[in-house]
């Protein structure tokens, strides 16, 4: 941004590395090579993910032909597993910004070296979120009606159109930043801060917006008291700032163990420091919500009673939500009582626990109770069926595949293994 450019005085590396337009096809070709080449374990991992994706694609194909009747959803519970996973994935994407903030706002140099992993996670998680929206549509062939100009985009009134705008914007910003950084490095040039720092700063604000808008999608509905709560957006942000860092802490260790990419303790410790705060903040906001619901009582709180204790003998979600609460509390205790240096495995367990806990709490635990009881107070329960599990596993496998390829590409470029001119 403010950094003076040295283009006039001495030639920057970008001029010596050849035409940036002409070498782009080569970059793509090299990327393709890197993406399809690796160790035996890499092949095994990619094959497994591809197999899972195909299982999901096949389930989705059947669902498209025979209709969403193949799922467990009904007119009473008209959103379920897909929208739950969508919500969680948006949180994961937003949470990735917890690497960007230390790297760019606090100038944490260790974090700077690995921040691209967070940006790649954001891309993969947005693809997952969009994948779940697509899986949930009744008419995939009508999806083009949602595109501005050629369709009829009900913006700014419908919060869903806002979500389309912010999610695709966030995807675009992160694709640009990652693509730009990798491509300039590939060409052996120094990235020009004017071309990415403004976008990185924008992505920080944008990360908050994607999850706020997703919360507004639900909290704006007066007919669903379970969602119609001002604390929903803050809760979403808090839980996003748990899941994002928790996922990255695990991912960084995997990268450190299985690749040549250098990951120091610094970024991991910073993220654990973040987690120690956000995991408590998340529990606090959940507690504030639960208190208000249960102490008030009345028919507006029937959904919360259904979720936590069951209602008139219907209690399908009770074991789920108490598992989630247990996982999150245990995770909080582990985060706060474990040493980052000597007990990293306990922190890793805490990350896994809280990811599972929030996946339940913000997935099925957030979406389904809003429909139970229905707006006319009928109780029809919902648990995802096998087809919904298959589609969901497929979408997540696609996300992991994109994340893996992104990492592989980034590591190849940063380690100099992939460059426009190979060093002899």
């Amino acid at each position: 941004m403010g950094e003076p450019m040295s283009l006039d005085s001495n030639p920057s590396p970008s001029e010596t590395a050849g035409d940036p337009i002409r070498s782009y096809p080569r970059f793509l070709w090299h990327s393709f090579g890197v993406a399809t080449d690796g160790s035996l374990m890499f092949y095994a991992w990619m094959t497994a993910l591809t197999a899972l994706i195909l299982v999901g694609v096949n389930a989705f194909a059947h669902q498209t032909v025979s209709g969403l009747a193949l799922t467990a959803m009904t007119d009473h519970v008209s959103w379920g597993m897909y929208i739950g996973n969508f919500t969680f994935a948006v949180g994961l994407a937003a949470g990735a910004v917890m690497m960007v903030i230390p790297a760019y706002l606090y100038d944490d140099h260790d974090m700077h070296d690995v921040v691209i992993i967070g940006e790649i996670l954001a891309i993969a998680a947005i693809v997952v979120a969009l994948g779940f929206v697509m899986a949930d549509l009744g008419r995939i062939d009508h999806a083009w009606h949602m595109f501005p100009i050629i369709g009829r985009f009900n913006w700014p009134v419908s919060m869903l159109t806002w979500d389309v705008v912010v999610l695709s914007g966030y995807l675009g910003i992160n694709l640009h930043v990652v693509g730009y950084l990798l491509y300039t490095r590939y060409r052996g040039a120094r990235p020009d801060p004017r071309w990415y720092v403004p976008f990185v700063l924008l992505s920080i604000i944008w990360a908050v917006s994607i999850h706020t808008v997703t919360a507004f999608l639900y909290s704006g509905l007066g007919g669903r008291p379970f969602w119609n709560s001002a604390v929903l957006a803050p809760r979403f942000i808090a839980s996003a700032f748990v899941t994002g860092p928790a996922f990255i802490v695990l991912a960084l260790q995997v990268v450190r163990r299985f690749t040549s990419f250098h990951v120091g303790d610094g970024p991991i410790f910073t993220l654990i420091g973040v987690l120690r705060v956000t995991v408590l903040l998340n529990l606090f906001l959940v507690g504030a919500e639960v208190f208000t619901e249960l102490y008030t009582g009345g028919s507006h709180t029937a959904s919360a009673r259904y979720l936590y204790f069951g209602l008139h003998g219907h209690d399908a979600l009770v074991p789920w939500i108490w598992s989630a609460i247990t996982l999150n509390v245990v995770a909080a205790v582990l985060f706060l009582t474990s040493s980052r240096r000597t007990q990293l495995w306990r922190i890793d367990a805490a990350c896994a626990f809280t990811l599972a806990g929030i996946w339940i709490e913000k997935g099925i635990g957030l979406i389904v109770p809003a429909f139970v009881p229905s707006t006319l107070h009928e109780i029809v329960e919902y648990l995802p069926n096998e087809l919904e599990w298959r589609v969901s596993v497929g979408v997540w496998a696609l996300g992991l595949l994109i994340f893996t390829l992104g990492l592989k590409l980034a590591i190849a470029v940063f380690s100099g293994q992939m460059a426009v001119v190979k060093e002899a």
Binding site: G138, H142, G220, G222, P373, E378
Partner: protein
């Protein structure tokens, strides 16, 4: 054979296998898209179609019905009468909960037979309260039960409708005569409106509705009772194919006790205006600010 070429060969083999597996897994969709017509795919939004273009669409839909069900039907597109504003009132004092209205809706609107779908749900309520939490729809005994009263619920055609606000593609809107409609050919099936409606008035076509050809009501309209496609929303339309042509809604005609009153809110001499002016009237969930056009009232 050197290592590199063996690797390339293995990769090519893997890629071929993968492509084959992908084709297999997606096969159901490719068969399905073969049935989709290009005209249907490219059809514009209801409000963007001229009368001539709409005629073409209506004839296409009629031809599709012949092809699929072997029945010839007439699909019309009646428009609102200028100056008319529809309203509906229901007398809770004399409704006996017989569900004849729900049944009439089922038949009139070509609903799916297997799920016995209807736009009307009848709640059996405890006398002494209008708390919906104490009502139930699955009562199964002779009616009317002396300890209960009955409250049918259908689309309230709200003037401030949450379902319309949330639709991302403007596939649902309120017409000039107050009727809230859905363009079945424009809806993307996201079901956001179903989540937004406080009255459980919307229904989704989870599968293609199944109606035996001999039971299909051939008197149809584009925005109301034509047989719906799979994967889109539907809802009560105040039977606009009848009411815009001077007839009464099917549910009203079916009511054995005369509990239902339908008419033009702009006509000062209409029965519904008299009810609103002289009876103890209320609307459901008034606190939500939805401003329904469906009113409940008590006698005496």
């Amino acid at each position: 054979m050197d290592n590199t070429s063996r690797r390339t060969l293995l990769k090519a083999g893997g890629a071929t296998l993968g492509a084959g597996a992908f084709a297999r897994s997606i096969a159901p969709i490719t068969e399905w898209t073969a049935d989709l017509s290009v005209d249907a795919f490219l059809q514009r939004h209801y409000k963007e179609l001229t009368r001539d273009e709409m005629d073409v669409v209506l004839r296409r839909l009629e031809a599709e019905t012949v092809e699929e069900y072997g029945v010839s039907v007439s699909i019309d597109d009646p428009r609102p009468t200028p100056g008319v504003s529809f309203g509906y009132a229901l007398n809770l004092s004399i409704c006996i909960g017989c569900r004849k209205c729900a049944e009439a809706c089922h038949v009139e609107n070509n609903h799916d037979r297997a799920t016995h779908n209807s736009y009307i749900r009848v709640l059996e309520m405890k006398k002494g309260t209008v708390d919906l939490e104490l009502g139930r729809v699955d009562y199964d005994h002779p009616v009317p039960d002396p300890d209960h009263f009955y409250m049918p619920v259908q689309c309230h055609h709200c003037d401030n409708a949450p379902c319309i606000k949330v639709c991302p593609v403007e596939a649902t809107w309120q017409e000039a005569d107050g009727i809230v409609v859905v363009d079945y050919n424009w809806c993307i099936g996201c079901r956001y409106c179903e989540a937004a409606c406080p009255y459980h008035a919307r229904r989704f076509n989870w599968a293609k509705p199944v109606v035996p050809p001999e039971e299909i009501n051939p008197d149809q309209a584009y925005l109301s009772n034509r047989v719906r496609p799979q994967g889109v929303m539907e809802k009560c339309t105040f039977c606009l194919h009848r009411t815009r042509n001077g007839r009464l809604p099917a549910c009203l005609e079916a009511c054995p006790t005369g509990a239902r009153v339908f008419g033009d809110l702009n006509d000062p001499d209409s029965e519904i205006r008299w009810v609103l002016a002289n009876k103890r009237v209320f609307v459901l969930k008034e606190d939500l600010g939805t401003r329904p056009r469906f009113f409940y009232y008590f006698d005496g």
